[in-house]
Symmetry: C2
Subunit: 399 residues, 2 copies
């Protein structure tokens, strides 16, 4: 894989340039070509943050690039609430869709798979139980002790648990240290958690559209709102719905909250304005006549809900609520690149901004950037390309 040598590389001078060319040559056989596969990591037993035991834990993961013999060129990518480990690449050469951060992960890109071994892992209680790709252990999994799905008997899991599963995988893969742990939204929480839990193993963290050091109480309330429609759906049935009618209406209503909450007026104005959903059906003339944006939100939420598990949605809202490293702030040593989205109405930039002072007060090097787009929270996914050079430069700094 030949790629242009960018200005960053040239700035390193002749010696580094030579080394870089050598690495390129050495890796030419296994260079990341963009076709990826989901692998499975298993643990016979895992003890949660809360002291519960999960047997036969299985999670999916993907890797891009090659791990050095020293095990020290790895970068971990942690996924967002409704995401999974498909951060970059595609599953076959015919596929047009690519992983959500493909713009910054790949050969020659900001997170350069010619230099770094990139790993991404499906979380516990991952939402995407029905997409045919995600591998997760959560409330929809079979409890080996009963032979039936856990439902709400699955133990409470936390961001810290997601990190500990990733740590176990990293150990199994021979990763000695991470050049960086990066992630968007709930993935940013995992990056911060890594910084607090394994400070000696993480040189840098890149929390993107995150919430700082803990879930603000306002975010705790927001998660309560997201969870409510599922509990309202009579098909939810206390979480015991597997093998029967699922709470799809409630989950779709929950996904409407996620979909709108992650967007913005800029997005709504550009994409829909006050257009009607159907020509001739004026929303003023009948209660069920709708605006175009309503029809879109409804359809998008239902489509997403069909891939998801309702109980897992509840478990993830709980995990987000529980997120806090405020009590372990002093442990954080990693260099930090915070990236927020200016127009974010969900992970408000103020959540992140207020963490800069306590971190710099304890000599943690912190950089802060805002994605200057008007699309809301999802700009941390859709416009991550605008941060390419910022991320590249950050990774090149001495940790």
């Amino acid at each position: 894989m030949v790629r242009p040598i960018g200005p960053m590389k040239l700035a390193l001078g002749a010696l580094a340039l030579g080394a870089s060319l050598f690495l390129l040559a050495a890796r030419s056989v296994s260079a990341f070509e963009g076709v990826v596969e989901k692998k499975v990591f298993s643990l016979p037993s895992f003890t949660t943050d809360g002291g519960a035991t999960i047997k036969n834990l299985r999670v999916g993961y993907e890797t891009y690039g090659t791990l050095d013999a020293a095990g020290d060129n790895a970068i971990l990518i942690c996924h967002f609430f409704s995401g999974n480990s498909h951060a970059a690449g595609r599953y076959s050469k015919d596929e047009t869709a690519r992983g959500y951060w493909d713009a910054v992960i790949g050969a020659g890109k900001a997170i350069d798979t010619d230099r770094y071994f990139v790993v991404s892992v499906d979380t516990l209680a991952n939402l995407n139980t029905k997409d045919g790709r995600t591998v997760t252990t959560g409330p929809a999994s079979i409890d080996p002790d009963t032979g039936k799905p856990y439902g709400m008997r699955f133990p409470v899991v936390t961001i810290r648990d997601f990190v500990n599963v990733q740590k176990a995988l990293a150990d199994a893969l021979g990763i000695r240290r991470f050049v960086a742990v990066a992630g968007a939204s709930m993935g940013a929480m995992q990056a911060v958690e890594w910084g607090a839990d394994y400070p000696g193993m993480v040189d840098r963290i890149i929390p993107v559209i995150g919430v700082g050091l803990e879930a603000d109480p306002y975010l705790v309330a927001t998660m309560q709102l997201w969870a409510a429609p599922i509990r309202l759906d009579p098909h939810w049935n206390g979480g015991d719905y597997y093998g029967r009618a699922e709470p799809l209406e409630g989950l779709a209503a929950a996904m409407e909250l996620v979909t709108v909450g992650a967007r913005s007026p800029g997005w709504a104005g550009r994409g829909f304005g006050r257009k009607w959903a159907e020509a001739g059906k004026n929303p003023a003339q009948a209660f069920d006549n709708r605006y175009a944006i309503e029809a879109f939100v409804d359809k998008a939420a239902r489509e997403r809900a069909r891939q998801y598990d309702a109980n897992s949605f509840l478990y993830l809202t709980k995990a987000v609520q529980l997120f806090s490293v405020a009590d372990r702030l002093k442990r954080v040593k990693s260099r930090i690149l915070f990236i927020t989205s200016r127009s974010d109405l969900l992970a408000l930039p103020e959540y992140t901004r207020k963490t800069i002072e306590p971190l710099t007060a304890q000599q943690v090097p912190v950089e802060y950037y805002e994605i200057d787009e008007d699309g809301g929270h999802v700009d941390g996914l859709l416009h991550i390309d605008t941060m390419s050079e910022t991320i590249r430069a950050f990774l090149d700094q001495t940790p």
Copy 2:
């Protein structure tokens, strides 16, 4: 009622001062003492914006102060989504609670009941059908044609309909023109609608925590989210629930969305932080253990829901979605005082800010102020006192 004569008044000079003292003396018998009563306004037939007929329309209203013989000292106060016409005063001398804008409405206050005749009217489809005070005609009312509650057969009603009912009441009371029409949130929409519908009758409008000239498509989607839990509740039953189990769970979930949406991280941090709902019940240890903010939101929403009608909630979300005077912008002539709340996450200040340019471009005098508090949307109610002198000065300007 003696009140200090403020600097504004002094600035008007000796002649005005004399006139003001004369008016004070003339009104001393009927001066507003803060005890108010709900009155009822009836219309045998009302034609909605959409062409439907509502028979035997009844709405409650309150007045504070005395109408001049010329009928030109009136100020109309329009209420917010979950509000009613109780804008100021109290229903008895024993009552401690006062109307929501009592801080700025009363003798000697910014909206001075010694000078102005203040009127406030319950909207159609008002939420508060069970509070024992509000009088409204909406989906919970009996349809005279069938003898049964309308339910979802009640016609779609709009902000413009609310204004037209107020106009009919104003005519009946002998009000020739309004010194100002003011309102918070959905009340701001009514104030703007007045400016567009009856420009010759309204000298000034004061939209507080409003959304500018129309419901932004993002707000249209937000209203869809608010409505969803009610439709999810099996007790909703297509709107036919009167006389049986009502969709209280769905309405409570909807009110959770309203409650949190109208607040802010500043409020959440000050009031709750990450405190647990109950000592010894760590939210990390069981799925149903909650944070204090969750318990508060749940309780507050349920208490509010008990006073409200679920169908009326749906009708108000529809009315908000339909709000737009963009097509009648050229008709607006009134002097405008826009007041937003800096930390508002619902009626984003940007909605109002972007309307300033088109209005000033057509020579409408516009002033814009932000309430500089961190409590969110409700600061337009809770901290309206910070705008007292701004409102007082605005009302004293030549229209």
